[in-house]
Symmetry: C2
Subunit: 246 residues, 2 copies
């Protein structure tokens, strides 16, 4: 109350170990080439046990300072990518504008019956078949997002013949003369499991952001739906109504 201010007092609840690691991280003493030493080594360095150490690392992970790759190790997080789900500018361009480098990998592109919830979103009866495109993207070489698209098989009859590692937005415009219109989306903080977790090389249960979006063309017809699964520390959502929705 006197000088330490109520706020600071409340803030100082995290363990000493966690604070120590924070300082070492901030001053660059901990990570070699953004990679932290093995847990056993860290535990020894901080004179504690792996359990306790992992507890502290988990906190820093939730705080977005570090992240882990499943059974591979811990790494220092880079700054967040600023992302506006209303803009359908392609990923490459978006990252370039933030002086970062992106890449996309195609995981699969097949015809498949969509789950009921996806069919409902796309306003089609349960059991409808769609093109299902699964991809994952890196920013500055780090895997940050897994994306699953569902597209109408009739509207995009020959899409599997196209290059699917690039921008679908551009494909829509250039090959199908379709422009985006309205969008709706939903953002949920969730635990990453199953395929998203596996493809992003993160441990099961790692925290993430799910963004499910339904895109329409200018006539209001539903074009596709995509579910994105982001590593939570890699993204910051920003929306400004003054920007409009190009």
């Amino acid at each position: 109350m006197a000088d330490g201010s109520t706020n600071d007092m409340i803030t100082q609840r995290s363990s000493k170990l966690e604070q120590a690691i924070r300082v070492d991280l901030a001053e660059g003493r901990l990570a070699v080439d953004r990679r932290l030493p093995p847990e056993r080594e860290l535990a020894e360095r901080y004179r504690t046990t792996r359990i306790t150490l992992r507890e502290a690392l988990s906190h820093l992970e939730m705080d977005g300072l570090i992240y882990r790759e499943n059974r591979r190790g811990w790494f220092v997080s880079d700054r967040r990518l600023v992302y506006n789900p209303l803009w359908r500018t392609d990923f490459q361009r978006m990252t370039r504008e933030q002086n970062r480098q992106a890449s996309t990998e195609l995981i699969e592109a097949v015809s498949a019956v969509a789950p009921d919830d996806i069919c409902a979103l796309l306003e089609q009866p349960s059991g409808t078949e769609f093109w299902r495109i699964r991809r994952r993207r890196r920013v500055d070489d780090r895997l940050v997002v897994f994306v699953e698209h569902h597209l109408s098989k009739t509207v995009f009859a020959d899409i599997l013949e196209q290059d699917l590692t690039g921008s679908l937005t551009n494909l829509y415009r250039e090959k199908y003369a379709l422009e985006y219109g309205d969008v709706s989306f939903e953002i949920n903080p969730i635990a990453l499991t199953g395929m998203p977790a596996a493809e992003l090389h993160c441990s099961n249960g790692t925290f993430g952001l799910q963004i499910v979006r339904v895109n329409r063309d200018q006539a209001g017809r539903i074009l596709d739906c995509d579910a994105e699964y982001w590593r939570h520390d890699a993204v910051s959502i920003r929306i400004d109504t003054r920007d409009g929705t190009p």
Copy 2:
């Protein structure tokens, strides 16, 4: 691959303990009045140690099935509140429309120098004083969000004399004849610490969603800025460009 499908196989990575708790939760065997038994009792019931049990509970917490109140215990999460940060309908109305019941508590309403980042957002020089209003809200009696507002002292000269447990939106319109115009906001997944964590009764480092918003009137003048800190499992963000921004 045959019938178990690749997806399921990848999904089954979580521990058996975690699965057991999931089942018991789903079938209502675990919680009495939404409150889980003490950790020690649970550890005994599942024939494991508290460490292991807490690991599993943390996973379920990240998945949004349960949450904890600091040193108070574990509780079963209710369904998420659907929230559109572009709509400035008041909280009471929003919750009522979802058949839920909301309440707001005023924590403080004072004049204070805003931090530099807030001053920048409000396009005022560092060190500017604003009204600082801190509140927290409950949905169905559960604390779900802590909100910190910063308002211009000149535009809202006598706002401290108003009832600050209600809707600021309504106050703006009724007492100051101000209508909202453009909005910009930023959503960040972060760890809750300090005052937000304390006021929400959650342990330091609990996962949350931060939503920082800058509101303007119809002339484009900045009205105020508010930073919301949500319990991550209590909210789902939804935006639809067809709704417009009333």
